[in-house]
Symmetry: C2
Subunit: 221 residues, 2 copies
């Protein structure tokens, strides 16, 4: 049963087909509305055969539905019926949860997505827990996202940003009692050295996550 | 199969027997060593019939074993074989995890233990995750435990401590994307009003937690 996996980022929408290594992409951005996303995705996947869809969205999801508008996209997402638009059985999860699910190998894994914002999720065998650690206070009245997100990178410069990543990763790993941390998101590439017990994420893992969403034995909570 | 449940706190060790409402207690304290604990427990439970033991310890536990000495007890706990000392099949978990497990009713539940320190655990159906949120930064270079633990209560006074509890509960509930928060620990009684989506914990729930530890379908991670 091939699955189309749609990983919606702030800059691009990445597409994969279960069982295939190929990744395609269409543009995203602050004006992207759901109808346009579906049309762009359909236009570049006419030669792909699939019978179900997994979607990662950059916003808070509860029981398969967005519960707030994604901050970094256009409007109209809340209440939009993605399953109806694709005309196929469709599962929607938070984008960090999608990549976290695909990145899991063993134990208790904390995923941190270093992108425009700071995504977070915790995975143990069989369970993915979406987290919203980004907005907790960190230092000087600023949040973790203020330091590790794209605006933090701009404000701090790459060297001090890297130091902040190392410090925050150690603190959050301890707080979540995690065995390892996976650092995903576009800015993970800027880390020259990884903190201890860390792996770098890989966009291709979102495709694995989209496949796992349809496998029995996995729950996204 | 009756279970003896041993909930080791900083001031007392509470004892319960599965299926019975009776709670007994023996003294604890900063000098309590494991051998003395086992002897005191045995001395007051000679009339109880049980064939397994569940123990909640106030320290970090990994795969059923303490991985550091409990801060608020005497020494000698690390590496001490509690199962051997009781001579019965024994499961050991963190004390916050034990009460959290027993307190769970539905959904995604965050447990915060307002005692000497600040215990934390997250429970979803079938899984208990021990957390160590206490030492994350909160405000003015101090941690959540510095505000919500016993020393915070002393420093802030009861009114400002209650305000801090309300603020921290709201922040951590959002960060963990929890449906509800259970406030346990001895100082939970000092809250005149509970923050939204909060329940007060109940020591008797530790006994339920100790029973659940032996039920199939629960994992403590």
């Amino acid at each position: 049963m091939p699955v189309l996996v749609v990983d919606i980022g702030g800059r691009s929408v990445k597409l994969g087909l279960s069982g295939s290594p190929e990744i395609r992409a269409v543009p995203s951005g602050p004006d992207l509305r759901p109808r346009a996303m579906v049309e762009r995705v359909r236009a570049v996947t006419t030669d792909w055969v699939f019978d179900r869809v997994s979607i990662g969205v950059p916003g808070p999801v509860r029981d398969g539905h967005l519960i707030a508008e994604p901050v970094n996209l256009g409007g109209g997402w809340l209440g939009f019926d993605l399953e109806h638009a694709f005309g196929l059985p469709t599962r929607v999860v938070n984008d960090a949860a999608l990549q976290a699910l695909g990145s899991w190998e063993r134990g208790k894994m904390l995923f941190l997505g270093l992108g425009t914002g700071l995504g977070s999720a915790l995975v143990v065998e069989g369970v993915v827990l979406s987290l919203e650690l980004a907005h907790l206070p960190y230092r000087c009245g600023r949040t973790y996202e203020d330091y590790l997100g794209a605006r933090g990178l701009e404000r701090l410069g790459e060297e001090r940003w890297r130091e902040a990543v190392g410090d925050v990763v150690a603190r959050l790993k301890a707080a979540m009692v995690a065995d390892e941390v996976v650092l995903g998101g576009g800015n993970a590439q800027r880390l020259t050295e990884l903190p201890p017990h860390c792996r770098r994420g890989d966009n291709a893992r979102s495709i694995v996550g989209g496949e796992r969403l349809w496998q029995p034995g996995w729950r996204v909570l």
